[in-house]
Each structure stands twice: as structure tokens, then as C-alpha cells.
């Protein structure tokens, strides 16, 4: 087959086949389909002209779903007919991106039959991205994927595909079962995931500890970051072993880097003032064999992180300083539905929940969702005296 097709000349892209880093140009060439040929052709044109050649495309999707497919059309279809339609399918990844070779092969077989043979492993939110197919391929691909046990992820103004770190599957620092929680929330909210009904997107991410390997504090409207309440566990012999190894200066590399200076090292033993530990993870990261998070574990819930569009980027802010993360997560789901109800009713179109809270005021937001304000939610009380008092005494007429 491939010999019969006329290969496009791509001298600029060919330069990106060399070098030690894996080459996406090689990947597109390996795919060796007519769609991949035209993708390479249109990309070469972008490299020549310094401009993209894609249009966003109206409503494409699978029956009964409002999300999960990103419509994409070429603005030069006459020159690159094989990618005139080049839609993306987002497939909800297994928690923490675990696979067997068998499952991966079956996905690739489906994509060989219906699409370009190109993927992203994975998209920014976490989905398996099947990159490029024609409109007519969407339903057959979907049917085969669901037969295999996979389903579409989110797109548009819906709950986006939740994602999580590796958690207790491999990491000794995971303060709760991130994979279990991610799977549970994803299954609970299938309707919210597949049928956009919110003012804008709503992302959930589950990180097992304050190292936050899934960047939940920056990238999710609701972020569950594992943390503990009791004392850091210390293996005194292992602390000494780190000191003796010569690879770590306990005073300089550990104690002096503690943000609250709550650790003391006298050359033989390490003392921790746990009441002043802010669970930053540095000492544990530096000495994983000697120190570990305590046993009273759960998560902090943060709300409102987002990228710049529309009203500027936000990091998540503390909504619940600590909560036990235990199935079936009833208390959290009740909180989430109160937030969604309020935001769905009063949020403006394309207003993320973080921006909504800024418009409403965090204090008013908390009142509306029935959560008590606590000082852990802020870095400092207000410095301006423009307080809008609501509990004043009314004079009698």
C-alpha cells in the first residue's frame, strides 16, 4: 500500500527526525496511513508559513453524548483531503494510566481500523487522545471501545475527566487511595461527564500528598491533596544512616530547608516539633527511608484553580483543611452537589468556579454552600475596612 501512495516532501519536518529526543515526526511517519501523510503535509505547510491550518468544528460527537469528541477541520481541505475532517476522541484513561500490553494492543487495533493511527498518551487533562478520524468513524469506534470496556471522557462545559496520581499503588507517601477515589467519582458522575450542563468546565484531580504529582493545585477546579494530622514517623537509625552516607547534610539540606524551622539535629538524633509542621514534604522527600507521613491520613480540598482565560490564572484555595477520604465519600459528594447547584444557577457562561467565587466573595460562597469559614482558608484577614455588615441591629420604627 504505502509504496503506491505519493509521499509528500517535508524537508523542514525531516530535520526533526534527528537528535537524541524521541521524534514526533518519526511517529507520524511510522503510522503510515493516508491520514498521517496528509497530516504531515499540512504540518509542513505550517512550518513554512508560520501559521496553523485547523478550524474548530461545530457539533460532532456520538449519539446521546455532548462531550468527548473535539471536532476539527482543515482550512485547506482541497490540498489535504485525507485530513479535511480530523476529529479527536477523548477516551477516559484507567486511573493513574495503568495498562496491560493486551489492553493497549486492543485499543491500537480499534484505532488502526477507524482512525489515523496516531494518539496522544495522554492529553493534558489525562484522557487517551485518539488523534484524527472522520465523522463517519466516530460511532463505530465508540461501539468497539465500549465493547472493550472503555468510554469517552469529557469536553466542553461538563465535568472533565478526573485524574489522579499513582497513589497507594506504588507510593509510600499516598495519604489516601487516589485511584479508588478517582474511579469512584468518575463512575458516580457519568452523566455530568458526558452531557455538558455547567457554566463551564469542572475538573477534579486527586493527589496523594502535598508533592501534588498531578498538579491538582494548578489544574483542577476541585483538588484533593493527601495530608496527615499526626506526627511524622521517624526511623532514627535510618536518619543516622543518611547522615553517615555523606550524601546528605541533615542540618543544611533538611533542617535549614524546613519552612517553619520545626526540626532540630544535634548530630545524633532528629527532633521534630510536629505541632508546627506544615506538611510541606521536604524532609520526607529528602529522606524517604527515614521519615514518613503520619498514620492519621486524609486530604485537604482546594477549589478554583484554572489557567488564564478568562479572568486570569488562579491556584486552588483551601476549602476543607482536612477530611477523611473514605468510600463512599458521601460528605464530599454532598458538598460537591451544593457547589454545582449554586454555580450552575448563578455562574455566568464560561465562568469557572474559581472566578465565580471571586465575583461572589469567598465568605458569601461559603455561606451559600453551608460551610463554616475557618482561618486555614486564608493567608491573612482582610486589610481593608470596607466590610459589608449584614448582622446589624435594625432600629424600631
Amino acid at each position: 500500500m504505502s509504496e503506491e501512495r505519493k509521499k509528500r516532501e517535508t524537508p523542514l519536518l525531516d530535520e526533526l527526525e534527528s537528535g537524541p529526543w524521541p521524534s514526533f515526526v518519526k511517529e507520524i511517519k511510522k503510522s503510515d496511513t493516508p491520514m498521517a501523510d496528509d497530516l504531515l503535509g499540512v504540518l509542513e505547510r505550517s512550518y513554512e508559513e508560520h501559521i496553523g491550518h485547523w478550524k474548530h468544528g461545530g457539533l460532532v460527537g456520538v449519539m446521546g453524548y455532548g462531550g468527548g469528541v473535539i471536532g476539527r477541520y482543515s482550512d485547506v481541505p482541497q490540498d489535504f483531503p485525507e485530513v479535511a475532517e480530523f476529529h479527536t476522541m477523548r477516551i477516559n484513561q484507567p486511573a493513574a494510566w495503568f495498562y496491560t500490553s493486551d489492553a493497549l494492543r486492543k485499543i491500537t487495533d480499534i484505532w488502526e481500523r477507524h482512525g489515523s493511527g496516531l494518539t496522544n498518551m495522554h492529553g493534558s487533562t489525562g484522557d487517551i487522545v485518539l488523534l484524527g478520524c472522520k465523522t463517519e468513524a466516530l460511532e463505530p469506534t465508540f461501539a468497539e471501545l465500549t465493547s472493550l470496556g472503555f468510554d469517552l471522557g469529557g469536553s466542553g462545559s461538563d465535568m472533565r475527566t478526573p485524574s489522579c496520581c499513582i497513589g497507594q499503588a506504588r507510593c509510600e507517601w499516598a495519604c489516601y487511595d487516589t485511584m479508588g477515589a478517582c474511579y469512584d467519582f468518575t463512575q458516580t458522575y457519568q452523566d455530568e461527564l458526558h452531557r455538558p450542563a455547567f457554566p463551564y468546565k469542572y475538573k477534579l484531580k486527586f493527589a496523594g500528598c502535598p508533592n501534588d504529582c498531578v498538579a491538582s493545585v494548578a489544574r483542577s477546579d476541585m483538588s484533593f491533596i493527601g495530608v496527615w494530622r499526626d506526627d511524622i514517623k521517624v526511623d532514627a537509625e535510618q536518619v543516622k544512616a543518611y547522615a553517615a552516607s555523606g550524601k546528605l547534610d541533615i542540618q543544611q539540606d533538611v533542617c535549614d530547608r524546613c519552612p517553619t524551622r520545626c526540626m532540630r539535629w544535634d548530630g545524633a538524633s532528629l527532633a521534630i516539633d510536629n505541632a508546627n509542621c506544615v506538611k510541606c514534604m521536604h524532609c520526607i522527600n529528602a529522606m524517604p527511608k527515614a521519615l514518613a507521613p503520619g498514620d492519621d491520613r486524609g486530604a485537604a480540598i482546594l477549589i478554583g484553580a484554572k489557567a488564564p482565560i478568562v479572568g486570569g490564572a488562579l491556584l486552588g484555595s483551601v476549602l476543607v483543611p482536612f477530611i477523611k477520604m473514605e468510600p463512599p465519600y458521601e460528605e464530599i459528594k454532598e458538598l460537591l452537589s451544593r457547589i454545582w447547584d449554586l454555580w450552575a444557577e448563578y455562574g455566568k457562561n464560561r465562568e469557572r468556579v474559581g472566578e465565580f467565587i471571586q465575583r461572589l466573595g469567598l465568605g458569601n460562597f461559603l455561606e451559600q454552600i453551608g460551610l463554616e469559614p475557618v482561618p486555614e482558608m486564608i493567608t491573612a484577614p482582610r486589610a481593608n475596612p470596607y466590610v459589608f455588615y449584614q448582622d446589624t441591629v435594625e432600629e424600631e420604627a
Partner: protein
């Protein structure tokens, strides 16, 4: 297949079927881990069981041919079990340490280098760029390939003061959420969309086009007798949302699109709080296929960090310790009015003390 009822809302497959036996057995019972060498670590469970991880880079954009090759390697070396990381690396999960070196050799032969663990530069998080996005101001895969070809030794060796995370997004929408990275490369448009009034009434619905603009910069207007729209240019911040709903509003502009560089963000809570990346370089040109200006700028910043930061210090922690004026001096990056915030809460970044290093 037509005989079976159409399945919907089944959600992702349960992860348990993809976990290696050693993970299932020791789930939640891991005790500690050690980095054995670049790209290789061992996790030890309370039971004494060990799980070896070998991490390799991928270009994120993968053909099914490569995915099958990964599957074959997993069958040969890790019992068929593998996973991907949040930064587009592939990880093989081994029970037998004797398989580590043969796996690394096999990956190397296929062109997939092993590394990215510990004090190193891990794989880049990035977006689609010209490969697939309608609002891209640059290509993502190409810039990342060029930058990582240059920085590759820092992926393959643990020779950085601390972790260094690079991310790329091809416009302000930031699908790659690059705004909290040690180094962020961000594609930027610098001109409001050009309106093609001849096509607009045929291709676009004016009310939905007007409401697509987050800043209200798009207004209905009659132009040369045609129902169309106008743009208040000062209100446009180049998000491309109008182009998303209306192809007659092309935002891309070959002469004016380019890239900006941002530094010092992080998401981890280790030592210091998570922080945003801040503007280092407001504009660099699109210069494919290898974007030498961008590669050079990133290299300059990485070199300055590597030479001056203390052990464990992230880019942002180092810059905060030495101060931003020192950062600009050390990197020889020119400071301009574009570096000074003029959006909401801009005044929060004005210096209101005499705490300056006088030079």
C-alpha cells in the same frame, strides 16, 4: 456486534485489572523507595517485596506502532504491565531486577531514552500546536523536540540542583496549564483577529459569535452594507474563542505570533508554597523547524539555575532568594515594560520597600 445493545456511560475500566500482581499484593503497604540510577527506582513494601520502575521519555504524540512496541517490551520484561506518567513518560513495572538493563538497552535501540527521575529535567508537558489546534500560535511538538534535544543530558543524568519541570502551551488557553512550571514556553498571538466580512454572514451566527468573546470586544456592526461584527482591539487578549465559533475570525498571524518564556513556578508544596511562573521573555519569533531563539533562551536560564541554585532549590526558590534583579543580570535577559503587570491586582507586584541589593 450489531446484535448487542449500544453501551453508554460505562466509565473507564476498573484499574485493578491493569495492576501487576506485586502492586495488588502490596497496595497501600509501600514503605520507601530509592533512585537506583537515572530513570530507575525501586519501591520496597512492608512485606519486603520490591517493584522496579524504568521510566522512558516519549514524544506524547505516539503512533500505534510505537504503542505496540511498548506492549511487546512490557511482555518481554515486565510481565505485560506498564503505565504512563502525568508528564508523558512511559514506565515499565518490573519484578525482576535482572530485566532492568536489557529493557533499557531495548528502549535505547528503539530511540526512547531512560531518565527523568530525581534532580533532573523530566519530560515536557505540552499541547497540540499546529499538529491539531485551531488557536495555536506555534507548534508544540516541534519546539519541545528542539528544546529537549538540547537539554537531553539533563534528562539522562541527575545533574540539576533540584527538579526542573518544563511545560509548553501554544496559546493563552493553556491546555497544558503551564502557569506553574519552572520554565514555561507559551505561544502568543499579538494581534486581534482579522475579520473576513465577505465570509462572515455565510459562515457564522452573529449572536453566538458576539457572546463568545470573554471581554465583550466583539460587537455587531454593519460593514459595507453587510451584517457583520467589529472588534474593539484594546479589549482583545487573543484567546481565539471567537475563531472557535467563527472561522471568518482568523486569529493566527504569521508575522506577529511567537513565543514567550516564563520562569519560577511550581505545584509542589515542598519547602515553599506552590507558585505561578513569571514573565522572563515577552516575545521570541516562530523560527521552525528548530526554534533556535527559544532553545537558546531556555538553555541560558537552565545554565544560570544549574550554576547558582542550591541543592533541592527549585527555579522559583532560587530566584526569590537572589531577587529578580539578580536573575535578569545573571541571565542577561533585558527587562522591559512588558514585565510589569498591568492586569487586575497589578500593584501587588510593585516593590514597596527598600529591600534591594544595590549593585
Amino acid at each position: 456486534m450489531s446484535a448487542s445493545p449500544r453501551k453508554t456511560d460505562i466509565g473507564p475500566p476498573h484499574y485493578e485489572q491493569f495492576l501487576p500482581p506485586v502492586v495488588k499484593k502490596n497496595y497501600g503497604q509501600w514503605k520507601y523507595h530509592e533512585i537506583l540510577k537515572p530513570g530507575v527506582m525501586v519501591h520496597v513494601a512492608a512485606s519486603g517485596d520490591k517493584l522496579f520502575t524504568v521510566r522512558a521519555a516519549s514524544p506524547r504524540l505516539l503512533s500505534i506502532v510505537t504503542i505496540r512496541m511498548f506492549a511487546d517490551l512490557a511482555d518481554r520484561f515486565s510481565g505485560g504491565f506498564l503505565r504512563f506518567t502525568s508528564r508523558n513518560n512511559v514506565e515499565f513495572l518490573l519484578s525482576d531486577p535482572a530485566n532492568i538493563d536489557p529493557l533499557i538497552a531495548a528502549l535505547k535501540k528503539e530511540g526512547f531514552p531512560v531518565g527523568g527521575i530525581g534532580p533532573s529535567i523530566s519530560n515536557c508537558v505540552h499541547t497540540q500546536g499546529w499538529v491539531h489546534c485551531h488557536s495555536a500560535a506555534s507548534d508544540a511538538s516541534g519546539v519541545v523536540k528542539a528544546v529537549m534535544d538540547d537539554l537531553y543530558p539533563h534528562f539522562a543524568n541527575m545533574d540539576m540542583p533540584g527538579k526542573l519541570r518544563i511545560a509548553f502551551a501554544c496559546c493563552l488557553n493553556m491546555c497544558g496549564a503551564v502557569h506553574c512550571s519552572d520554565i514555561a514556553i507559551l505561544g502568543i498571538h499579538r494581534k486581534a483577529p482579522k475579520i473576513k466580512h465577505s465570509d462572515l454572514p455565510k459562515m457564522c451566527e452573529i449572536p453566538s459569535l458576539v457572546s463568545s468573546c470573554p471581554t465583550g470586544a466583539v460587537r455587531p456592526a454593519t460593514v459595507e452594507g453587510v451584517q457583520s461584527v467589529e472588534i474593539i482591539e484594546e479589549q482583545c487578549m487573543y484567546c481565539g474563542n471567537c475563531f472557535t465559533v467563527c472561522p471568518a475570525m482568523k486569529i493566527a498571524n504569521a508575522e506577529n505570533d511567537g513565543l514567550s518564556i516564563w520562569v519560577g513556578g511550581k505545584v509542589s508544596n515542598a519547602r515553599t508554597e506552590p507558585k505561578f511562573s513569571k514573565l522572563a521573555i515577552p516575545f521570541l519569533p516562530n523560527n521552525p523547524p528548530r526554534w533556535p531563539e527559544v532553545v537558546g533562551a531556555v538553555r541560558t536560564i537552565v545554565d544560570a539555575y544549574a550554576a547558582n541554585a542550591r541543592k533541592f532549590e527549585r527555579m522559583g526558590e532560587w530566584i526569590e532568594r537572589i531577587g529578580w534583579p539578580s536573575f535578569f543580570r545573571l541571565t542577561d535577559i533585558p527587562f522591559s515594560k512588558y514585565h510589569i503587570d498591568d492586569f487586575k491586582h497589578a500593584g501587588e507586584t510593585f516593590r514597596r520597600s527598600i529591600h534591594m541589593r544595590q549593585v
